[in-house]
């Protein structure tokens, strides 16, 4: 991750955030709303019961262009890009030579015929410059990296998201989870805006991420916020929603010191790529798949009501250190404290009893399966 010296940046929605009562804080070099007038707790619950609109324009969007773009990108990530079907999205990770995670990202193969030989990437805000520099450097001569700084990104998440968005983009409710297409968003004025829809998100709910030209994102956001089901949601609830969904936050739960296997992301590596390797850190990662990793990311449920925050030490029942919490707090939908973190191999099975050192006291907790709140992704038309 890069340092964020220099002037703070804003997204094209900055004025709208302020007019909506957003409490603005610095995040990844941008001024972003941590919450609006509802507050984190109600914003979280609203997203799970209706629909929440998130500004995620700080994230990095880019296109990779090249005749062998699939094979080229496979030299940097363990995902099976050759098998990625047109119009489908894959979650993967950029890796260091020792198998550590440089960033997690979404890779989309466009369905549109005019976008053959292209992949669309969405990467984390804090890492976007270093990620794209890394790809450009490592794939020089094979792949052209086109940074889409002229595009904003909104996320519309929650059980009402599909019905709401279909009012502006008819038919978008038929898209399946982890699919993507270019479509037109019909503004209330009648004007049509070209957008790229991704049926994906970071909340565990059904929903969309919508890539929109900067010049049109305010109008699109206002149109969505004009729907009775939709409220603006800040970064605070984005974090509690993703934690309940068991999803990793880069820089907290995964970084260059964790491999995808240690992070319990082995599902991102296909059978072919496990057999063939050919990605950074492949020897170490394949060995961990075969013989086990020394530590594993797990869900941790404190037994009482006290939240255990990031960097809380985890002990076994005898009081020996076995790991550390990497994300922890209060889960509004769970209505109690929840956490994730790393424990030594041997302590990762759900049901294992552990202790958490909170303000000098040892609090009992259990290793649990994640997610804490069930995923409700859209699989197919009922």
């Amino acid at each position: 991750m890069a340092d964020h010296a220099g002037p703070i940046k804003t997204t094209p929605l900055n004025d709208l955030h302020i007019s909506l009562g957003g409490k603005m804080v610095p995040f990844a070099g941008y001024s972003m709303p941590v919450n609006y007038e509802l507050g984190v707790l109600k914003e979280h619950l609203h997203t799970r019961s209706a629909a929440g609109l998130f500004d995620v324009s700080h994230m990095g969007q880019a296109e990779l262009i090249g005749a062998d773009v699939d094979a080229a990108l496979e030299t940097l990530i363990p995902g099976d890009i050759k098998a990625l079907q047109p119009g489908r999205i894959r979650y993967s990770t950029l890796l260091t030579p020792s198998g550590g995670i440089i960033d997690d990202l979404m890779v989309t193969r466009p369905a549109e015929p005019h976008m053959a030989n292209r992949l669309v990437l969405v990467v984390n805000a804090a890492c976007k410059d270093s990620d794209l520099d890394h790809i450009e450097r490592r794939l020089a001569g094979r792949v052209k990296v086109v940074r889409q700084e002229d595009r904003a990104l909104l996320a519309l998440q929650g059980p009402s998201a599909a019905a709401v968005l279909a009012r502006f983009v008819p038919g978008c409710d038929a898209m399946v989870f982890m699919s993507s297409k270019i479509d037109q968003f019909k503004l209330p004025s009648g004007e049509k805006v070209d957008v790229r829809l991704f049926r994906s998100g970071y909340t565990g709910e059904d929903g969309y991420e919508i890539s929109i030209p900067n010049s049109k994102v305010v109008e699109v956001a206002k149109a969505l916020l004009g729907q009775s089901e939709v409220k603006p949601i800040g970064l605070g609830a984005r974090d509690s929603l993703r934690l309940e969904a068991g999803l990793c936050l880069y820089g907290s739960d995964i970084d260059t010191s964790t491999t995808p296997i240690e992070a319990d992301l082995s599902w991102i590596i296909s059978k072919r790529r496990k057999l063939e390797g050919g990605f950074p850190g492949d020897h170490k990662i394949i060995e961990q798949i075969n013989t086990g990793a020394p530590k594993l990311r797990v869900g941790i449920k404190p037994e009482g009501r006290a939240p255990a925050r990031a960097h809380t030490e985890v002990l076994n029942e005898s009081g020996e250190p076995i790991g550390e919490i990497t994300s922890g707090g209060f889960g509004p939908s769970v209505n109690g404290p929840i956490a994730m973190g790393y424990v030594k191999a041997g302590y990762a099975a759900p049901g294992t009893k552990v202790q958490l050192v909170v303000r000098g006291q040892r609090l009992p907790a259990d290793i649990v399966a994640m997610p804490f709140a069930p995923h409700r992704y859209f699989k197919s038309k009922a």
Partner: protein
Amino acid sequence: MGQLRFTKDHEWVLVEGNTATVGITTYAQGQLGDIVFVEVPAAGKDLKAGSEAAVVESVKAASDVYAPITGAVTEGNALLPDAPETVNTDPQGAGWFFKMTIANPAEVEALMDQAAYDKYLAEIG
């Protein structure tokens, strides 16, 4: 009705006889947001002015509540561990944190009164 005083850390202190009741102000709970966990000190605990006395956690973060004066805890609010949201709904009433003895009345006198606290809030804006 006793004497109401405030600290710069946004705690309130209600002095009635030789007992002080301590909580966090309406402003403080608004800054913290939705409160989901409160830990209050047990009766008998000795506190020094400025020492950590209680813990309050919102969805976002954990914060310490400091002892505004020196004394011994006589009662922690038993309601708060099970109903932490009371601090949001009634911060300067049912959402009190703990009661304590007053070792040194001069420490109370040094705290802000309502007018001074209102002025302080206006300054930090």
